[in-house]
Amino acid sequence: MAFLDINHASKTFAGTPAVRDFDLHVEKGELVSFLGPSGCGKTTTLRMVAGFEVPNEGTIVLDGHDITNKAPSQRDVGMVFQAYALFPNMTVGDNVGFGLKIAKKPKEQIAARVKEMLGLIRMPDLGDRYPYQLSGGQQQRVALARALAIAPQVLLLDEPLSALDAKIRVELRYEIRRIQRQLKITTIYVTHDQEEALTLSDRVVVMSAGEIEQIGSPFEIYNYPATAFVASFVGTLNQLRCRVVDAASGKLALGGQQFTTTALVKTAAAEVLVMLRPEELHMGVRAGDNSLTGKVESVAFLGSVVRVHLKLGESVVTLDALNERKLVLPKVGEDLTVSFPPHGCWVLAGA
């Protein structure tokens, strides 16, 4: 039994299943993110933990207590919303202290805790401001402080950064992780932004159409996706339709050019789908690697990365090269040979 158990939870709205058989066990102090496109059920699952939805099936157990049917106010769970949801009629300090006031804590204790929380979010002097006097990023920090002030057992974050500017978003992302690590608070983080999920999480739960696709560390999710959905949703991916030359030795062909893979090709079909991350491909020939030659279709300079699109027979392959000052950019229309290691790709049967 883990600290927070979501046991086979299902939720149906008016006959439409929103979440199906969601089974997850979160350890104390862990940050787990739910990642998926909108409508995949990640927010519904979070709201079941918060108590705003009751699962039709399954249970939610927190620290050994079954909280499946408990009211949100009885759960000891802190929540941060996408829309900040600060109380507009209260100052920052009163917002942060609201939960403690409800719990009828003595005034001095509330004041001390509010001060501590404002220090934690690095806004020690803004306790007297009203929410509308703050920027979006500041408001969300206050919302975080308010959720943490009651020292909840679990912190729930529902797309907390989606409403913010790109720069603030990245900044606050690290801030959330810093605070979470410092307090060692068990946290569930819902997001549709894969970069956010990968950078923040101890573990990522990838969801689609109400079901869990994969649970794993960011490294596992990215490099060893369990399903085609995870592979295509997380990161950029080349999906190449290849002819099987010799399944036993892993020989495949793309547009007439042969290469080998160490991935198992366990199919009798004539064609398979080969999955290859753009960063596994390198310009030029490398000893021991597969090499393929194609025509350069486009070259995009993105700063730290140069993205090249290469026409290989019927397929277009994307290559990401790290920028360096001596890099010679390929020209559109010329032939370019690229290479990748035999272990760099994986194969999906039934293509």
Partner: protein, 261 residues
């Protein structure tokens, strides 16, 4: 196609005249109590009548009671409809509009039939009158509150408060009522203005309210009622100006509530 500005001005001035000529005439007439010169004699006489203060005081008291009951009835209802029963909104709106559809006379006789006999006799107390006033205030109060609720992300605020341990009572008291300050004030002042000038209910249920008092002296004297009507009109106008003024002050605060910026 732009209309010629002359016509815009023509209609504007016509509207102003239509609105102000009766007012100015009433004012002018009310100042002519003493022959040959303009004085505030009519106002002095009005203020001398103890029944002026009595009826004004009664109406003031009943207006306040009406406002309190109306708030306690409408705010939780509108909040619940917005939060949990959005499908019920058209029905609730329809019910609150009834005072516009059913004439006040009919409403009063309904009240008398309902509360004039056992088991619940209210017509001997001002309660029946206040019940009528609450019904009368519904369209104004409900609409103000409803539009206020729609301007705020009420659902998320409620959930935020719940996750911090607040129960429904606390949420209403600490979050909803304060967030709706401007909307509530406009509902309150509209209700106040209506109750202060109301005639039908008070007259038919025979309570000495301000409305029937104006009517009564209107039948007996020439100049004083003009003065009193004008004062009653100023109360209404003052209320509307107050709504506007308070609304402007707090608008900034309300816009910020709508979540993401």
């Amino acid at each position: 196609m732009r209309r010629h500005p002359v016509w815009s001005w023509f209609w504007f001035i016509l509207g102003i005249l239509y609105f102000f000529i009766p007012l100015v005439s009433t004012l002018e007439f009310s100042l002519r109590m003493l022959k040959g010169r303009y004085t505030f004699e009519a106002y002095r006489v009005a203020f001398q009548d103890p029944r002026f203060y009595q009826s004004f005081g009664f109406s003031l008291l009943w207006a306040i009671v009406t406002i309190v009951i109306s708030l306690l009835l409408v705010v939780p209802t509108a909040y619940w409809v917005q939060l949990k029963l959005p499908k019920a909104r058209p029905y609730v709106e329809f019910v609150t509009l009834m005072p516009f559809v059913v004439p006040a006379v009919v409403l009063t006789f309904g009240l008398i039939r309902m509360y004039g006999r056992p088991p619940l006799v209210l017509t001997t107390t001002p309660a029946a009158l206040i019940v009528g006033y609450v019904v009368l205030s519904l369209p104004y109060m409900y609409r103000s509150v409803d539009s206020g609720l729609r301007a705020v992300d009420i659902r998320t605020l409620t959930e935020a408060a719940q996750s911090l341990g607040a129960n429904w009572g606390t949420i209403l008291k600490d979050i909803i009522f304060p967030s709706l300050r401007v909307a509530l004030l406009s509902g309150i002042f509209l209700t106040f203005a209506i109750v202060m000038g109301e005639f039908t209910f008070a007259s038919l249920l025979s309570w000495p309210a301000f409305g029937p008092y104006i009517e009564e002296i209107g039948a007996m004297r020439a100049y004083t009622p003009q003065a009193v009507s004008l004062m009653s009109f100023l109360i209404t106008w003052g209320s509307i100006v107050l709504i506007q003024w308070l609304g402007r002050g707090a608008r900034g605060a309300q816009i910020q509530v709508g979540g993401a910026r």
